[in-house]
């Protein structure tokens, strides 16, 4: 029976549309995977020596100290990205297969998912290094197995609480609170959690506890699933009560208002677009890395421009780069309705501009880090509005990835979105402003550098009509290809 399941899985993987990419891309992907594997491996190996060199204590104890954050982050990460194993169960329901087998297979499948295996790249080399460094083998193995069980516990916890948004937000809130209070030395959660992880090492037999916990979680996940394996139960699409919203205040924008109303609903009512907006919001704080002098290499003006672009352009990058894919599920309607391309594009442009302005206002707190930081944010905003807003729309014409609005799949990028054209277009988005700044700074001084970038952004406004004409033509030229690509989910 399992042979059948595995056969189906095999086919669904190798026959998926996304797998059928060009050969050079597969090679590139394999190289990328190799690269990341090496990075993780070297982190696993290097972590020990880095911590030892930093002289903050016994590396294993230090790792144990921060383990709670690692676990918590893992859980949040899983919640956002790990796909639930319920897909493809429906066709099995009426076949002569025992339900328990289907559930066992679906749960078993998650065990080998990337989200579990990835940790092995850290833990295995780390444990090997511990052994080489003369830590007692039994204790290291006990610790290692205990950790492994804990990450698998996360796997099954995630399966059970998935789609319970309130649980996620409460948990993520606590996690951030704990991190913040540790940073400001109000309350150190690690003082209480470190002993738990230490215990796994000090008393290796105690590793059995997480394993018992894991088995218990597996069985509760099993019963939970089995109980809910009905079309109107766990397999049903979650329905939220809909409320008709008018948003009449947008009517004053005429045709644009019509689209803006739709876009606001799009963002509010779909998981995928909400994630994009939340990501965009977090970009506002990305600048803290650059402006607080926290990281030495970032402590120069060029990186500040870079930061300014990202701080104010979070939404522009996370949402804007996927225009028009947001409308992919009803693109034929948009293309045959009484809609002018110009209106459609202009409304998206306004959306990006409005979001950039809001981000800029929210980012006002960078004033606290000195005028230069704030100037970088401001000119970044001007450049984003004046130049990058066009560039994302332009690049969007080549991004032919249909977006499934109701799921978070591929929320963190998709390989189809990376083609030669979009990659080329990122250069002027990020590098060009740095170059412009550098020219101004070297020729005259830092103030001139900022002014140059701002002037360049303002120049973008002047050419709005011509640029839009050009983008419109590109969209028209790509229309049929785009329609075809959106059909192939």
């Amino acid at each position: 029976m399992f042979k059948h399941f595995i056969g189906l899985q095999w086919k669904s993987f190798f026959r998926s549309a996304s797998f059928k990419t060009e050969i050079w891309f597969k090679i590139l992907m394999a190289l990328g995977a190799l690269y990341f594997t090496l990075i993780f491996l070297s982190m696993g190996v290097g972590a020990y020596y880095i911590i030892e060199k930093a002289g903050i204590g016994d590396p294993l104890r230090v790792v144990n100290r921060f383990m709670i954050y690692y676990l918590a982050f893992d859980l949040v990460f899983r919640y956002m990205l790990q796909k639930m194993p319920v897909t493809n169960i429906k066709p099995m329901l009426y076949l002569p297969i025992k339900k328990s087998q289907v559930v066992n297979f679906s749960l078993g499948k998650t065990v080998i998912s990337f989200f579990n295996v990835a940790h092995a790249f850290f833990f295995i080399p780390f444990s090997v290094v511990l052994l080489i460094e003369g830590y007692p083998p039994i204790q290291v193995i006990g610790w290692h197995l205990g950790m492994m069980a804990l990450f698998y516990c996360n796997n099954f916890i995630n399966i059970m609480v998935n789609n319970k948004d309130w649980a996620f937000y409460v948990f993520a809130g606590l996690f951030i609170l704990a991190g913040a209070s540790q940073y400001y030395a109000w309350f150190d959660i690690t003082l209480y959690t470190q002993p738990i992880f230490d215990y796994l090492y000090d008393m290796p037999w105690s590793a059995i506890v997480p394993w018992v916990l894991l088995v218990a979680l597996y069985f509760s996940a099993f019963t939970y699933f089995k109980k809910h394996m009905f079309l109107d139960g766990g397999l049903a699409q979650k329905q939220t009560e809909a409320r008709t919203e008018n948003l009449d205040w947008l009517n004053r924008f005429g045709n644009l208002g019509t689209f803006l109303k739709n876009d606001i609903k799009l963002i509010k009512r779909n998981k995928r677009s909400r994630t994009a907006v939340i990501m965009g919001f977090f970009f506002i704080f990305y600048g803290l890395l650059f402006f607080t002098s926290a990281i030495e290499v970032y402590d120069n003006a060029y990186w500040k421009i870079f930061a300014g672009i990202f701080v104010t352009g979070g939404f522009l990058f996370s949402f804007g780069q996927y225009v028009p894919s947001w409308d992919s599920s009803y693109y034929p309607l948009m293309m045959s309705q009484n809609i002018k391309y110009r209106d459609y594009l202009t409304s998206k442009w306004y959306l990006v501009i409005i979001a950039t302005i809001i981000s800029t206002i929210l980012a006002s707190f960078y004033v606290y880090f000195g005028w230069e930081a704030y100037a970088a944010v401001l000119v970044g905003a001007i450049y984003n509005v004046g130049i990058n807003s066009y560039l994302v729309l332009w690049g969007g014409a080549y991004v032919k990835t249909p977006i499934e609005l109701t799921s978070n799949k591929k929320a963190f990028g998709d390989k189809q979105a990376f083609n030669a054209k979009t990659l080329l277009l990122t250069l002027p988005k990020i590098l060009l402003p740095i170059v412009i700044y550098a020219i101004g700074q070297i020729l005259i001084g830092p103030v001139a550098g900022y002014l140059f970038v701002a002037a360049f952004g303002l120049l973008g406004f002047v050419f709005k009509e011509r640029v839009f004409k050009m983008i419109e033509n590109i969209y028209k030229k790509e229309k049929y290809k785009t329609l075809l690509a959106y059909k192939q989910k």
Binding site: Q239, A242, R243, N262, S329, P332, L405
Partner: protein, 231 residues
């Protein structure tokens, strides 16, 4: 109203549509029948400029559809779910289409009023997004939305499929009323020969992309079609 000239669509070696000449006069109710893969949806997609013809072109009311967008204001269609916006409620969707076609809320409400029988109380005020409606109810929304804004050309692909018997009968009435208007050209495709002979004045049979029959509907048409498809 609609003219196709030496229209063809090929995918590689395979010809999916090949129409030398087809003329649909204004106000006609035009039925398209054919087995799966006969080219019905291809023809409609070409009409809406959703795919590019391999050769030839279509003129809709003097506008060549793959050259200009000027056909959009007087043409409307419902082909499949990709014409619905899943995250809107039916009301919001109707108003959205209304706004695109220059109709305000009151206009749209007045139009919807006329279809309350057709909706059978399952569409308006249901607190559901379109993506959560059943296939049949989604179809009702799409069909009625294509009537908003007095279009001169209405294109419906398989409107009867997925509908319950009562709704099918009501839809027949609606399409007949629409076709009775002098200035509205209705294009309908269907697998149901009875329905299509009932609502259409003219029936064209497609087979492997070619027009094999072009019939002015009469009492014998149904028999003729049945004989053809029985093969």
């Amino acid at each position: 109203m609609i003219t196709a000239h030496t229209l063809s669509k090929k995918y590689g070696e395979q010809t999916v549509l090949n129409i030398d000449h087809l003329e649909i006069p204004k106000g006609q109710s035009f039925g398209l029948v054919g087995n799966n893969g006969a080219g019905k949806t291809t023809l409609f997609s070409l009409l809406l400029d959703l795919i590019q013809p391999t050769s030839g072109h279509i003129i809709n009311n003097g506008v060549q559809v793959d050259e200009s967008e000027a056909w959009k204001p007087f043409t409307s269609a419902f082909i499949d779910e990709s014409f619905l916006i899943g995250y809107l409620t039916p009301e919001e969707y109707f108003y959205f289409i209304g706004e695109l076609r220059g109709r305000n809320k009151a206009d749209v409400d007045a139009l919807l009023e006329g279809y309350s029988d057709f909706f059978h109380g399952e569409i308006l005020g249901q607190k559901k997004y379109l993506r959560d409606l059943s296939k049949g109810n989604q179809k009702k929304v799409g069909i009625v939305a294509s009537f908003i804004g007095n279009p001169e050309v209405v294109i419906l692909d398989e409107p009867f499929a997925n509908l319950d018997p009562t709704t099918q009968i009501r839809l027949k009435g609606i399409i007949k009323d629409l076709a009775a208007k002098e200035d509205v050209t209705v294009l309908v495709s269907s697998h149901d020969l009875i329905h299509v002979t009932e609502v259409c004045e003219r029936i064209v049979v497609l087979n492997k992309g070619e027009i094999v029959k072009d019939i002015h509907t009469s009492a014998e048409t149904l028999k003729e079609l049945e004989a053809f498809f029985a093969g």
